[in-house]
């Protein structure tokens, strides 16, 4: 955090009132600490050595920010030391110099959620802040009242609990697009979430042993409707997930964090310390996998064990297909299978996918309803996707509970809570397996080193043990990677496979130019087809909304298809459209027709893909086209890659348009 006077900034050090630059840091720190213990007005007075106003810069610590700013707001890029985002003063006008804050690279910009709002007791609306207003009342609210909600105070908790029944979904639907006052309330709730989930994470960290939860990275945009996915780092993130979920409920919330404010936490999956650095394979950079060991620096299941490597690739592919099945109806699934496997020669693969899907569905149904298998005999309904079937089970349980008033939120919580409990349980197994594999690898590496020594080399027993360990590590890594995918399936909204995660995060988000095997690219295609279907179904009211939400997945699926060597036709169309949706329209840009947001998304989809009208029928066409692209990609893969070339590397993953 830095402190500097406006005058110093404005007059480039010519002011005699400004703090001497050489003294500024130590003085500033001392003054800040003193000011932190005062009220806002006194603090400002202390920090103002001249009549010129002092700009409080970015503060990441919530308590300090609360004591410092009359009306704090979140700046998503402002840096306090190395933080990405910090609390700043909402009072300065939009884009005024005082409203701009330096990011980690020192670039100054105004990225505040709220601008030009100072604390004003006269505009405070007591009923609003107590959560006594109804959703309709809030929709008619004068924005100046909403502006007075301090996101670091108690009001957001009251509003979220009382007005919106602890449901982020309810809050979103009742505020976004429902008037300036309502949207400002949602902005304040969004800001509340920003610090509150971080507080729970810090409590989680404090409860665990040092190093078990070392840090976390939260991904989520600044739009009011975005979720937050928190990727935990440390030596026992598997335990941290459970502790976070428990501590959140202990913070006096009735539902899971995913329901209350759309925050989900994830244990370490396929992205670990060495993934981003990568390793070289065939002269190309590939993302490093878990399990690097002597002779296998790239980690993962050894390609020198062809059967294990093939089994590993098959496990990964099966999970991508299970995910697809979840977002298809039985009829759509049958059509998909028929499209990919016209000759019916892959019955075993489909049977395996359906077995795992049924396993997942029944595990969740049992967790939701706490009933025996016999009660779970109901078959999937022909017109419902897998996820709809599960939602129905969750809803039925809420309906059966006469004491529940808000059936929708209770239903949502039934499903998320069940997923979380199974996820936590599976994570325990993942942690134990991980620890076991790591111990095996340490022992194996030690034996290999021992074998290299001239004095006291391998004993016959040690040599036999090393050979056995090598085989066992491969087998255990295959099981571990399968387990990671299964765990991811029970968590909410995460990629399931190594290929899809590395493609999206390492390649497209971080812009690291990696190469992936063709099998991994197929897995990324499949997963993104499933994600397209999920988002299109969720936002099925019109093509614009569906495309706006699914655009990034359209881009990713087409990009992955190109990486494995496929091009032309629908893949090019999906790439062009998806790229523009994900990078232009989602970035606030306009369509060629000059429209932004969902309307701009519709323009692009209509122009490039010929889809209309902008209604549910259009969305059905878009979903049908997406399933068709998925079929084409799998058929292309079978014809042009197959098991013989599945481990060959494809072209460079790049976020640049190509």
């Amino acid at each position: 955090m830095r402190l500097e006077s406006n005058r110093e900034k404005e007059s480039s050090g010519t002011s005699t009132d400004a703090l001497d630059a050489s003294e500024a840091p130590s003085q500033a720190v001392q003054l800040k600490e003193k000011a932190g213990g005062m009220g806002y007005a006194d603090g400002v007075a202390l920090l103002t050595p001249s009549p010129a106003p002092v700009q409080m810069d970015a503060i990441s610590n919530v308590d300090t920010a609360k004591a410092t700013f009359g009306m704090p707001t979140w700046d998503s890029k402002a840096a306090d030391d190395d933080s990405k985002g910090a609390w700043v003063d909402a009072a300065p006008a939009r884009d005024s110099d005082a409203g701009k804050h330096a990011d980690k690279k020192g670039n100054r910009a105004d990225n505040r959620q709220v601008r030009g709002v100072a604390a004003n007791a006269g505009d405070v609306h007591a009923a609003l802040e107590a959560g006594s207003l109804s959703e309709a009342d809030v929709q008619g609210l004068d924005v100046r009242h909403a502006q007075q909600i301090n996101p670091l105070g108690d009001a957001p908790v009251n509003i979220l609990k009382n007005t919106y029944g602890q449901s982020w979904n309810r809050a979103k639907h009742a505020t976004v697009g429902k008037g300036a006052g309502a949207e400002m309330v949602m902005t304040k709730l969004w800001e509340f979430r920003q610090w509150h989930h971080d507080k729970i994470l810090r409590e989680t960290q404090a409860e665990l042993a040092p190093g078990e939860l070392s840090k976390w990275a939260a991904a989520g945009s600044t739009t009011l409707t975005s979720d937050i996915d928190v990727n935990l780092k440390g030596s026992n993130t598997e335990k941290a997930v459970k502790v976070f979920n428990r501590r959140f409920k202990e913070d006096k919330w009735a539902y899971e964090a995913g329901v209350v404010y759309d925050v989900n936490v994830y244990a370490l999956d396929f992205l670990h310390g060495k993934t981003f650095a990568g390793v070289e394979r065939d002269g190309q950079r590939v993302a490093a996998k878990e399990g690097d060991r002597a002779g296998e620096e790239a980690g993962g299941v050894s390609l020198s064990s062809p059967d294990a490597a093939a089994a590993d690739a098959m496990h990964q592919e099966v999970w991508t297909l299970v995910k697809m099945r979840l977002y298809m109806t039985p009829t759509e699934w049958d059509e998909y299978k028929g499209g990919v496997d016209a000759s019916g020669s892959e019955g075993a693969k489909w049977a395996e996918v359906e077995s795992r899907y049924a396993n997942y569905r029944d595990t969740l149904r049992a967790e939701i309803t706490s009933v025996s298998k016999d009660t779970l005999a109901a078959a999937d309904e022909a017109d419902k996707t897998g996820i709809s079937v599960l939602n129905r089970v969750a809803h039925q349980k809420a309906e059966d509970n006469a004491g529940v008033v808000d059936k929708e939120t209770q239903s949502e919580d039934n499903l998320i809570a069940a997923s979380n409990r199974v996820y936590e349980r599976k994570l325990k197994e993942m942690k134990k397996t991980r620890t076991h594999v790591k111990a095996d690898i340490d022992e194996y590496n030690e034996l290999i080193e021992q074998g290299k020594r001239k004095s006291n080399p391998f004993s016959p027993l040690a040599e036999e043990e090393a050979r056995m360990l090598h085989q066992e590590i491969n087998e255990n890594l295959e099981i571990l990677r399968d387990l990671i995918s299964e765990c991811a399936f029970y968590s909410n909204e995460a990629y399931l496979t190594d290929g899809a995660v590395n493609h999206a995060v390492v390649g497209l988000q971080e812009g690291i130019k990696i190469h992936q095997t063709k099998a991994e690219s197929l897995h990324a295609v499949n997963e993104n087809v499933a994600d397209c279907l999920k988002e299109m179904a969720r936002h099925g009211e019109n093509v614009g909304e569906a495309g706006y939400k699914a655009g990034k997945y359209m881009w990713r699926l087409a990009d992955a298809a190109r990486n494995m060597g496929m091009s032309g036709g629908a893949i090019d169309t999906y790439y062009e459209t998806g790229f523009e949706l994900a990078n232009t329209i989602k970035g606030g840009g306009t369509s060629p027709q000059g429209n932004t947001g969902p309307r701009g998304a519709y323009d692009l989809i209509h122009t490039h893909m010929g889809i209309s009208p902008n209604d549910p029928a259009g969305v059905a066409s878009l979903k049908g086209m997406t399933r068709s692209v998925g079929i084409q990609a799998s058929v292309w893969y079978k014809t042009n890659v197959g098991s013989e070339h599945q481990h060959d590397l494809g072209s460079t993953v790049t976020k640049d348009k190509h």
Partner: protein, 302 residues
């Protein structure tokens, strides 16, 4: 185990070595083959330091007294602990796994009582060979990589259980319902599944030589690369069972009902299908296939 002069001759000598030269004890213990189990049953180790126990070396400590011992928990978990006294032990990790093992050995009532107050943890590599688990509720219990040879699971509730890479040779599952049980890479030699109902179980790479699965039902189970000589699957019933690339020489399927079974690329040398209904079976690429005496052989994919 051979005694080569460095190795203690018997279990009492092992105990004496530990008391007089603990470094020598652990060095000698490391030299025991990792596939053998060192017999340390019925000994009094109370107050001794066992924390230097080498990894991957299994000990049978049944009936021994470990009161007040210092232990390496991850190692002790892999030891056989039937009737072992574990009072006041000090570990380098929490003792939850050991409490769970003690509860499993304590019988059905003890297990139920323990389970009503505890959430089962995941046990890896526990030695529970010969354990009587009849009537236990083992829902969502994971015992992967454990030794459960000769264990008796009859009447137990087996839902969502993890038995990956577990040794279950000679274990009894006859008449059991196994739902969503993971038996990937499990050793099921001579295991008894007669009349059992297996639903959505995973059995990839399991080894089932000599197993008895007569009249068992397999529904939605996946058992790719299953191996084993002489498995008896007579009168078994199969729905959407995946057994591709299985190696099942001399297996018996007499009178079985194979309604959508995938046995592609499998080795079925010497297998018998007399009286079996194979209308829904896919045998493409199978070796040694002989469908003599089978019903609806013309409908099978070969």
């Amino acid at each position: 185990m051979e005694s080569d002069g460095l190795m203690p001759a018997d279990k009492n000598a092992w105990l004496e070595l530990l008391k007089t030269d603990s470094d020598g004890f652990f060095a000698a213990a490391k030299q025991v083959h990792f596939r053998e189990t060192l017999d340390l049953t019925g000994l009094d180790f109370s107050g001794l330091d066992l924390s230097g126990a080498p990894r991957r070396r299994r000990w049978d400590l049944s009936g021994s007294n470990l009161t007040g011992c210092r232990v390496n928990v991850s190692h002790l978990v892999t030891c056989r602990l039937q009737d072992t006294i574990l009072d006041g032990i000090e570990g380098d990790d929490d003792l939850d796994d050991l409490h769970q093992i003690a509860a499993l050995w304590s019988g059905q009532e003890g297990w139920s009582a323990w389970r009503s107050e505890n959430e089962p943890s995941v046990l890896i590599g526990a030695n529970l060979s010969g354990i009587d688990l009849r009537g236990f509720d083992l829902t969502n219990v994971s015992l992967s990589r454990s030794l459960l040879e000769g264990a008796d699971f009859r009447g137990a509730t087996l839902v969502g259980m993890g038995l990956t890479m577990t040794s279950l040779g000679g274990a009894r599952f006859d008449g059991c319902s196994l739902t969503r049980v993971d038996l990937t890479s499990a050793t099921l030699v001579q295991t008894n599944f007669e009349g059992a109902a297996l639903s959505l179980c995973r059995m990839d790479k399991a080894e089932m030589s000599g197993a008895n699965a007569q009249a068992a039902t397999f529904d939605g189970c996946v058992a790719k690369a299953l191996t084993g000589t002489g498995i008896n699957l007579s009168r078994s019933s199969h729905v959407k069972t995946v057994m591709t690339s299985a190696v099942l020489p001399e297996s018996r399927w007499d009178g079985a009902k194979l309604e959508s079974v995938f046995l592609e690329q499998s080795d079925l040398s010497g297998a018998s299908f007399v009286g079996a209904d194979v209308a829904g079976a896919d045998f493409r690429g199978a070796q040694g296939l002989n469908l003599e005496g089978a019903h609806h052989a013309e409908s099978a994919k070969v």
